[in-house]
């Protein structure tokens, strides 16, 4: 019958009925019969379509259960409307999934796979009236029998909180299975809290109907699943417990009770904020599969069984939904960066940083109200931290940073400006006024260092200026170098900047080569200005050892100085006269220093030292010279050779400079860098910096420093996390590059992009804290941390794509469990269940047994089953071969704690 209607698409029930080929007698149809036939029609339709077609048409996936779908249809009967739903799975292996999977309540309770539920369309959705319920069930049952369908059908009864159902399943021609489930919400009888009580409850379901209860032992199978929850990490007592265990297994517990340890104390972000532990705990499932018991005493024994004897263990973490991102009030770098971007948006409202401080000048109303400036004590503390409490900072910033950090134009982590930016994030609520106040004080403090010639903390005072950093950092680096130079001058390192005295000395020095041509060896003065002997080179003319001079460092240049040069060069255009004045100055300085270190030296000597490739030895002579050296100093002198063609050109600019250079050790030269002038220029820049320029650099630096900080988190070997962090850097670099380019003003698009960047940042930040938390909890078996993290990562990744914090279209919760196979891991997990203190033990009065390290299960689930050979029934005589199979005649599912018990019974009978 069903096959006939297969291909018909049904528009409404009346048409459907007309098309049925079997005979239906509607002449005497009551409304009850009509209702049944309506149900039947729908069932036929569903049956005919099969899961595959239903999936295409109308089935909706159940959120919580990945492989469960439902279709529904509505009916009216006796002034009431009902809704029938058909639940089905797509995998067709016919078996009910194992109970370590997440199952639908009814699947779990009654051991069914696909099923029907019919319920009235009311507010509660529950049939309250018992006759109504059974009538409804019979209707469905008849309908299903009519279309020879074997689906079990259920009707909810009683109060919805009881989750009570009755149900029926046609098992072919012989058997019918009846289902009944109910729940006790409170005051569970003591008897039913213990295993023997539950065993007897199960026995009673069949014993008194068939055999004498007292005389028999009943062999039944049972499966048991116990759920344990690790002690809460937030619980103060527990934390001390853990702490004490780490320090010493013992006695000093009392002394430490006052100190509460945060889980993330050793994480790099804890300097700035404390994150809530994303892992609230773990639940452990200990599963015994298929045990046979014969008596109550047997059963009672099982209550003493330790979970360590269970067959299987599954563990899963308890995590807040979406890692708590969607609630929007978590504090972290991401939340503060979002505030900083707001400040960036507002930074255009004033021309000078000072304008934000004086409220009178600012027109903006919301600025006055919302922008709180922290009290002076907070300000003092921040400045103290920035400038005074600097413990020997490692100035090699590259250590802590990611390989892509440099692509972001900010200051390196731990540097003065990076620390300033991170402080600013947490100063007040990072509003523009608080930032302005902090910046003004910051610059004041920098000015003080300059005036007092105090070294600038957290800034290197040497080296070349890194142009990949932000301009403020470059300027501070420049200032630190200037301060260092100033200090050298003040400390008597005789850097003579006074031109008059310099020339006076020049006159003296000029005398030396002329007067003392017979001068042999090296005077102390010469040593002072030389960096040592330059190999075995000798001067060409005077046959003295060639000394490499101490030369001046090339002057540091910040980005804007380079740009000025570039513009100057461009202004000169294509002409040859691009005068590299600075480079000429450097060359001249080198030549002066060389002359001073090597009196009597000629231009060729300088070239041999400075640009060896422009001195060409005659090859044949080379051989002679090397032979000559063997004969102890009887070298043919001078060595034959000549300047390269390009060096010996007439009008060669090198020779011109050489001719003009005076022999001066660098101590007497005009410094290439004028520290006083350059230093003042830096301070001028800092003091007149536009709010917008300040904020743009702060945003870049804050992103970079925050990412670098998070990047230092130790989370073990988690490839996905490392990759994700790498991607974050690339995204940041590509978005932040629109800031700090003075060509464009920041428009709203950029701001929007930055806000999106904050969302991405928040995701990564949360994932890192999760990774760190797993890592800490499974230090002993990192592979567990890895598999938990990658499970969560796979689950979480699609959610990140939404790009908004409120993208909860996908409400599925994380439910992946890890089976724990190795016994090493069992030990690790057992140790997570720390022995409760006496203080905690007395609170627990569940008395359900099966302790794990003193912890009781929080939930116990048992499935009893009794199997019977189908024999001795009245069908057996006629049809012995067909039905000599073992079937589950009684099945009882029990789930509960001491104050909550659910029991579901399925009985197969051949009535």
């Amino acid at each position: 019958m069903a096959s006939k209607s297969n291909s018909k698409s049904i528009i409404d029930e009346d048409e459907e009925e007309e098309e049925f080929e079997h005979f239906d007698d509607f002449t005497l149809a009551s409304s009850w019969e009509r209702f049944i036939s309506e149900l039947e029609a729908v069932c036929r339709q569903w049956l005919a379509n099969g899961p595959k077609n239903l999936l295409v048409k109308e089935a909706v996936q159940m959120d919580l259960f990945k492989d469960l779908y439902k279709v529904k249809s509505e009916f009216k009967y006796a002034m009431k409307s009902y809704c029938m739903e058909y639940y089905f799975e797509t995998n067709n292996d016919g078996k009910v999934a194992d109970w370590n999977q997440i199952l639908h309540d009814l699947q779990l309770s009654f051991g069914v796979k696909d099923f029907l539920v019919i319920a009235p369309q009311s507010a509660s959705g529950v049939v309250l009236d018992a006759p109504e319920a059974s009538k409804l069930l019979s209707a469905v049952s008849i309908a299903l029998t009519n279309c020879s369908c074997l689906w079990p059908a259920f009707v909810p009864v009683h109060d919805p909180s009881r989750k009570a159902y009755i149900g029926i399943q046609n098992m072919g021609t012989v058997f019918t299975k009846r289902f009944e489930g109910d729940r006790i919400g409170s005051q569970v009888p003591i008897k039913l809290m213990h295993l023997e009580g539950l065993y007897e409850l199960f026995i009673s379901k069949f014993a008194y109907t068939t055999v004498d209860l007292s005389m028999h032992q009943f062999k039944v199978q049972f499966k048991m699943k116990l759920t344990y929850r690790t002690p809460s990490y937030d619980d103060e007592d527990e934390v001390q417990e853990v702490d004490a265990d780490i320090t010493a297994p013992g006695e000093n517990r009392e002394s430490e009770t006052r100190i509460k340890m945060q889980w993330d104390d050793d994480c790099p972000w804890s300097e700035w904020y404390s994150a809530e532990d994303p892992v609230k705990g773990f639940e452990l499932l200990a599963i015994w599969s298929e045990v046979t018991v014969e008596s109550s005493a047997d059963m009672a024994e099982w209550e003493n069984a330790s979970p360590l004897e269970a067959d299987k263990w599954f563990l899963y973490p308890i995590l807040p939904k979406n890692l708590g991102i969607s609630d929007g009030n978590t504090i972290g770098f991401a939340s503060q960066l979002r505030l900083l971007i707001k400040a960036l948006e507002m930074s255009l409202e004033a021309q000078f940083v000072e304008d934000f401080v004086s409220v009178e000048k600012s027109d903006s109303e919301n600025l006055k109200s919302s922008a709180v400036i922290p009290p002076p004590t907070v300000l003092d503390r921040v400045l103290k931290d920035l400038f005074h409490e600097v413990t020997e900072v490692q100035l090699d910033f590259s250590l802590g940073e990611h390989k892509s950090s440099r692509a972001i134009k900010g200051a390196p982590l731990e540097s003065l400006f990076a620390q300033f930016c991170l402080h600013a994030l947490w100063f007040g609520n990072c509003n523009i006024r608080a930032i302005a106040v902090l910046w003004i004080e910051f610059v004041r403090e920098v000015r003080w260092c300059w005036e007092e010639s105090q070294p600038l903390p957290r800034v290197p005072s040497c080296g070349t200026i890194d142009l990949s950093t932000c301009l403020i950092y470059q300027k501070l680096h420049m200032l630190a170098i200037c301060i260092d130079k100033k200090r050298q001058q003040n400390n008597g390192h005789d850097f003579d900047r006074n031109d008059d005295s310099a020339t006076a000395r020049v006159q003296e020095d000029l005398q030396i080569p002329n007067n003392s041509s017979a001068f042999r060896g090296v005077s102390i003065d010469d040593r002072k200005c030389s960096a040592g002997v330059a190999g075995s080179m000798m001067l060409l003319k005077s046959q003295r050892i060639l000394y490499a001079p101490i030369t001046q460092d090339p002057p540091p240049m910040t980005e804007d100085m380079h740009e000025e040069r570039l513009q100057a060069a461009e202004a000169l255009g294509d002409s040859f006269s691009f005068s590299a004045q600075l480079e000429k100055d450097i060359l001249a300085s080198d030549m002066s220093a060389f002359k001073a270190a090597n009196p009597g030296a000629v231009f060729e000597d300088f070239i041999r030292w400075h640009s060896p490739k422009d001195w060409e030895n005659d090859d044949s002579l080379d051989v002679e010279v090397s032979q000559g050296t063997e004969r102890e100093g009887k070298v043919e002198w001078p060595p034959r050779g000549k300047l390269s063609e390009r060096m010996s050109d007439n009008g060669n600019s090198w020779r011109k400079i050489w001719n003009e250079a005076l022999p001066l050790p660098i101590s007497e030269q005009k410094p290439l860098l004028d520290p006083n002038r350059e230093g003042e220029k830096v301070l001028h820049y800092l003091e007149t910096l536009r709010p917008r320029q300040l904020l743009e650099q702060m945003v870049c630096t804050a992103f970079r420093a925050a990412a670098d900080t998070l990047n230092q988190t130790s989370f073990g070997d988690l490839k996905q996390m490392t990759t994700k962090i790498g991607q974050l850097y690339i995204t940041m670099a590509s978005m932040l590059k629109y800031l700090q380019s003075h060509k464009t003003t920041v428009d709203s698009d950029v701001i929007e992009d930055l806000k999106r960047l904050c969302v991405t940042f928040e995701h990564i930040e949360k994932l890192i804290s999760l990774a760190a938390s797993f890592h800490r909890k499974f230090l002993q078996s990192p592979h567990l941390a890895q598999s938990f993290f990658s499970d969560y990562y796979d689950y979480y990744l699609p959610k990140m794509g939404t790009g908004s914090t409120h993208g909860d279209t996908d409400t599925r919760e994380f439910d992946k469990k890890q089976q724990i196979r190795s016994h090493e891991d069992w030990k690790v997990i057992t140790s997570m269940f720390t022995q409760p203190t006496p203080n905690q033990s007395w609170r627990k009065v569940l008395s359900m047994g099966n302790f794990l390290n003193g912890h009781e299960p929080i939930l116990r689930e048992i499935i009893f089953s009794k199997r019977d050979r189908v024999s001795g029934s009245y069908y057996a005589a006629s049809n012995t071969k067909l039905y000599r199979q073992e079937i589950e005649t009684y099945r009882m599912y029990v789930c509960g704690t001491s104050n909550d018990l659910r029991v579901a019974l399925a009985v197969a009978s051949c009535d």
Partner: protein, 210 residues
């Protein structure tokens, strides 16, 4: 590739190119040969030199700012700052002097790693002075192998005879034009919204590999 001799007031892209290599390999001559079609034995560069050249490639008006650095060791700290932001780096060696070739991997390659801030920047290996064929010590195959290993373009040319000089710069510029991230940098004053270039669900943070 057309070269416009005058300086047009506007351009589509500005690219910064950098020339590095040992002293005396002919960087300045190469640049001069390219920018003014002449060859002279030049004085050694002091520190750094700079030339601007306007060209039109594929219908795009380009402004090339070419920085020519001195090869002397003493100037190296000074020239390091010019690596920053360069879209193209030209590594020059002298085919008649082997050490200028080996120094590219020993010294100059490392300098690029250290100072270049641009991950995508195009590198080009140039063997100069092929006019002195009789004195050649570095074979073309060695150059090709090196270029393959370092993932860069390769060409041999002569600043003196102007063989391959224009091709050298043209190749480099074409390659830069094929690289979107470099074009974006070179685009003067035009901001691109990277979120809007792609569909929102595949933004850089979420789409890629893993």
């Amino acid at each position: 590739m057309e070269f416009s001799s005058g300086a047009p007031p506007e351009f589509d892209y500005l690219f910064k190119l950098l020339m590095i290599g040992d002293s005396g390999v002919g960087k300045s001559s190469l640049l001069l040969s390219f920018t003014s079609d002449t060859f002279e034995d030049l004085s050694p560069t002091i520190g750094v030199d700079f030339k601007v050249k306007h060209v039109t490639v594929g219908g795009k008006k380009l402004k090339l700012a070419i920085w020519d650095t001195a090869g002397q060791e003493r100037f190296r700290t000074l020239t390091s700052s010019y690596y920053r932001g360069a879209q193209g780096i030209i590594m020059v060696y002298d085919v008649t002097r082997r050490e200028t070739f080996t120094n590219l991997s020993d010294i100059w390659g490392k300098e690029i790693d250290l100072y270049s801030t641009n991950q995508d920047c195009i590198k080009m290996l140039v063997g100069n002075k092929v006019d002195k064929e009789s004195e050649r010590v570095v074979s073309k195959k060695e150059g090709v192998d090196f270029a393959r290993e370092y993932g860069c373009l390769f060409i041999e040319c002569s600043a003196k005879t102007r063989v391959n000089v224009e091709q050298c710069f043209e190749e480099l510029v074409l390659k830069i034009l094929e690289t979107p991230s470099l074009i974006a940098e070179g685009t003067a004053g035009v901001k691109k919204n990277i979120f809007k270039q792609k569909p929102p669900e595949s933004d850089a943070s979420t789409s890629s590999c893993c």
